[in-house]
Symmetry: C2
Subunit: 328 residues, 2 copies
């Protein structure tokens, strides 16, 4: 394991850049922001703001309802276009700048410096400073190290954001990226004011009775391949509310079947476009499968968008999964 | 918080007793063993056995299928009666010796010493040595401290047992007992060979497709009080397999509704006997409600058995919950 107990080795250039901040700083998110992106963005944003920096937080989408509990979520602006160049732009948990939907290009002036902090191994290294740690449990873990290295205070608000980042990216400390460091840092963050029960309550106990009954109905629609190795759930366009899909990590249910090696969630986003989430249990690299469809991600968790009907996307994807399983 | 970073203060007598073990040692469980009981029992049992003690592990029930993955689970014997007295009997996570179904009495000779290690504040202190820490996240956390204090090695097998104990009693690090220490010790245990993804896989991904469809159907049967404060699920006798109920923490689903303050699972165990699990979100002490029905537990998680039909038990219990909510 390339996982130092002292913390990840932070590029000297990054420390220098953030130690003497002058001018405007943009912390930029991307489409479909998750807990690690938002927790890292807001956590680092608050720390730099508390240190006196002139900080803006923005992204191409509004903060999903599910993550509005994060202290500072109200600071994240939703932009269709960047209002002009910033002196420094920091992206966290963003492997590909195309996911900013043009905001990075719009925020970039001739003298702008771009900082790219991420734990996705397939990160495109598009920054002037790239700090990529593919073995970190979450970008939030790296941001915790960075805040410490900068000598900044971890307030309870920052702790809650970074705890949420690590909690969500480790699947509530259940995935194989739940390293000793991830757990110990989570412990430090609780000591510094994060409340696990409030984070978990916001993430998992925000259901309405209708949501629970809807989930029950969807579980009845999970399908399993005859050999038991693949399970999937296919949602036609408009069949379930968007906020419900954001709140429920639906792919965990087909994944929870013991025989299943690859779990798939297919969501018809609009006519002719199907969003796909893939989860694997170690034997197949779903990051490669997603990449073949123009997507990306980790070996055990990946996603892509497929053009076609729900049925066409399902057939194409399951064919690809089946081939990958055959090559084991 | 009465939670020392150095570890809980272990009674000197306990250290002395376990440092120089001679004779027969019984680690005794109780009915309806959970992850903390079994993880503590097996974890400590393995550590003492590795130190050369003559160790027996037993309980009144077989290890549930759900926990058969614990390394050493095969050592736990199921007894109807104790085969005779032991020199030392250690009970962990057992607040009330009546839950051993007579095994403690049967294992007790004139010279037997009883050790009682527990984190339930309502523990009846029935031991010759009682070590009770009501603020410890799990008995497994105390056992970790004890093993360290005894200078014994934490093998990967022991780490897996103690990690499971803490994982299950903190609800996958989601409950309010998820302290900095619980997380840091979990990190230490991963460093010593526990694999969070294997533990979580065994606990949450052992479903058959039928289990998933059955769960879906049950979610449709969750009922909610008109004021939204109470939600419950009532299972008639024989309506779902026993192993399914053991594997699924069904009460978490009614609990997951945002408006709900008290969640209830009622299971008709046999004609005229209904087992009840109660969960609260801080505003009502369900331990007191359960105690009024002859049960017990924590403020946020408790259980009892009610005589009567499923409908009678439901009515009596919801009346009691409603009264407690009215007194807030």
């Amino acid at each position: 394991m390339g996982m130092p107990e002292q913390g990840w080795p932070i590029p000297r250039e990054l420390i220098d850049l953030l130690s003497a901040l002058r001018g405007s700083v943009l912390l930029l998110g991307h489409v479909q922001p998750d807990g690690d992106l938002l927790g890292s963005q807001i956590g680092l944003g608050l720390a730099l703001r508390n240190a006196g920096a002139q900080v803006t937080l923005a992204g191409p989408q509004a903060v999903p309802d599910l993550f509005r509990f994060l202290p500072g979520a109200e600071l994240v602006e939703q932009w269709e276009a960047a209002p002009g160049p910033f002196d420094l732009v920091i992206l966290g948990d963003c492997p590909d700048p195309s996911r900013t939907h043009g905001l990075l290009a719009g925020a970039r002036g001739v003298a702008t410096r771009i900082v790219n902090i991420d734990h996705h191994p397939d990160n495109k290294r598009y920054g002037d400073v790239n700090w990529i740690e593919g073995e970190s449990s979450a970008t939030g873990e790296m941001v915790y190290d960075l805040i410490q290295a900068l000598g900044l205070k971890v307030t309870p608000e920052i702790a809650t954001n970074l705890f949420t980042a690590i909690h969500t990216d480790t699947g509530s400390f259940r995935y194989s990226n739940t390293t000793p460091r991830a757990l110990r840092i989570a412990g430090d963050l609780v000591a510094q004011g994060a409340h696990p029960e409030l984070v978990a309550g916001a993430l998992y106990e925000g259901r309405k009775p209708d949501d629970l009954w809807r989930l029950g109905s969807l579980l009845g629609q999970v399908e399993v391949s005859p050999d038991g190795l693949v399970a999937w759930l296919a949602l036609p366009h408009g069949s379930v509310p968007e906020a419900f899909v954001e709140a429920e990590d639906l792919v965990t249910y087909p994944r929870s079947i013991a025989s299943v090696k690859v779990a798939v969630l297919l969501r018809e986003a609009a006519a002719g476009r199907v969003k796909v989430s893939l989860r694997a249990k170690g034997e197949v690299n779903v990051g490669k499968i997603a990449a073949a469809f123009g997507g990306g991600g980790h070996a055990n968790a990946a996603g892509c968008t497929i053009a076609g009907s729900l049925e066409e996307a399902r057939a194409a994807l399951l064919r690809s999964v089946s081939e990958a399983l055959g090559k084991r």
